[in-house]
């Protein structure tokens, strides 16, 4: 039995340091949420682009319509990027508001389960040593050189990865949900404070769009890194949980080491 990510059983560490071994890296709740959320996010982004096409102007403040000054008018998004592919605001809203439930309650379930099974505390929590400027800078350099962690290091999230995941899971998606809910006049009657917080409905709509843009950028970076780090290994680990540890070139292989030890 090989332990999941971040347990410190000696045997796991030994095997991991050796590299080349299959290690159980992602537990079932994480994998389930990842894929459910991926589908929901993509449907929400694409139907959201259709909704943007209905009035492609963004404003700050309480109100904003054709006679007011937009801070930005997004381009009209082409059919291949929208759901549905031809103009249909009513249907785009059906898609958007259905998958919004999956996004919101999926995130809620994921956060509760990840607190209970300690995924958040063990894998996502930033440690002081990781936040040291020298460590951060080293991680930035490693990313820039496309130097991916090997051995035991490959079983942990690196610090930039942690920061990205924390930002998305705890800041951007919650803000996306809150600003989305605030576009609802029915919800506004229940509570005014989210709109007061962001300065009005048109501001909430702008922030909703900006958060969606951040998510889209995250997806591009995420997929690029998956492709560069070894797509088959990465995708398999997110499907089955099993991850093949990249061997550490600087260390003697375990086999050799063991031979040396026994002599």
């Amino acid at each position: 039995m090989i332990e999941p990510l971040s347990t410190s059983a000696t045997e796991t560490r030994e095997r991991a340091e050796r590299g080349g071994e299959l290690v159980y890296r992602h537990r079932l709740p994480t994998r389930l949420w990842h894929w459910t959320n991926a589908v929901a996010i993509i449907v929400l982004l694409m139907s959201g682009l259709m909704i943007s096409n209905a009035h492609p102007h963004l404003y700050w403040g309480e109100y904003g319509a054709n006679f007011d000054q937009p801070w930005w008018s997004p381009p009209r998004f082409p059919g291949w990027a929208t759901i549905p592919s031809t103009y249909n605001l009513a249907l785009a809203r059906h898609w958007h508001l259905f998958f919004a439930w999956i996004l919101a309650f999926g995130l809620l379930a994921h956060l509760v389960i990840s607190l209970v099974n300690r995924h958040i505390q063990r894998d996502l929590t930033l440690r002081r040593i990781e936040l040291a400027p020298s460590h951060l800078w080293q991680d930035v350099k490693d990313h820039a050189r496309l130097k991916f962690p090997t051995g035991q290091e490959a079983l942990r999230y690196n610090v930039l990865q942690k920061i990205a995941y924390i930002s998305i899971v705890f800041v951007v998606i919650p803000l996306l949900i809150l600003t989305g809910l605030s576009l609802s006049p029915g919800f506004n009657a229940v509570m005014h404070w989210p709109l007061d917080l962001v300065g009005g409905r048109s501001s909430a709509r702008s922030l909703h769009f900006i958060c969606a843009g951040i998510i889209a950028a995250f997806i591009v970076v995420h997929l690029t890194l998956v492709l560069l780090a070894g797509p088959i290994n990465e995708v398999r680990s997110m499907l089955t949980g099993w991850f093949r540890v990249p061997p550490d070139p600087d260390k003697p292989t375990a086999k050799l080491k063991r031979t040396l030890d026994t002599q």
Binding site: H55, E62, P185
Partner: protein, 254 residues
Amino acid sequence: MTTILTRRALVGSLAAGGGAILSGCDRLGQNEQSRALLASGERGNYAFQRLLQDQTALAEEFAPSQRSPVFRANGTRMPCGTDYARHLAVNFNDWRLVVDGAVANPQAFSLDQIRAMPTRTQITRHDCVEGWSAIAKWHGVPLKLLLDRAGVSPQARYIVFHCADPQSNGTMYYESIDRIDAAHPQTMLAWGINDQLLPVQNGAPLRLRVERQLGYKHAKYVQRIEAVPSLAGIYGGKGGYWEDAAGYEWYAGL
């Protein structure tokens, strides 16, 4: 070499997968059953909002200085046909607002009668389904006062608003709301905007304000209010012009 091929294959399959998702989504959107499943999100939103909302929870009201400089008019700006033109020519002197259907005492109010009733003034935000918003001050009579005069039957579950503007598909604009929104203190038949009588483009002489829902529910040119036990049998049966014509949600609180 193999990794390059793998990556290329993967990028290719991602693109192909993306195309499949898209055409799949379009087909799902056209399929009656999956469309019904998607639309179940609306029923969830309706139930959830009614659960969260106090029945009289108010939509936000604003200060006069927070109003939009220009209140955008949308939808019909000038009802076509001779009927409305005739009413407009005589300044709506013989316009009647009929309240009938499942009521004890059907009514026909003149505009003078309506303007003599207690007036409510509110500065609220109008949120269009397309995404724009505009803030204006509305003057009108609470719908509840009109309905109470008529004595709505307990069997009536919906209040339907019949309008004077014919639509491109040959039917007249109409809308409907439930009894909770009908009794809401901010729901009114407005006859004025920003201290003036309602202009034609904003729904003269009377329009609905139902502040906790999106713009297309706020029927303009209202000439008849009907209390009904069911929406079936009224035009397309989905409770409103946009609901029938394009599949927009009947509950437009979101």
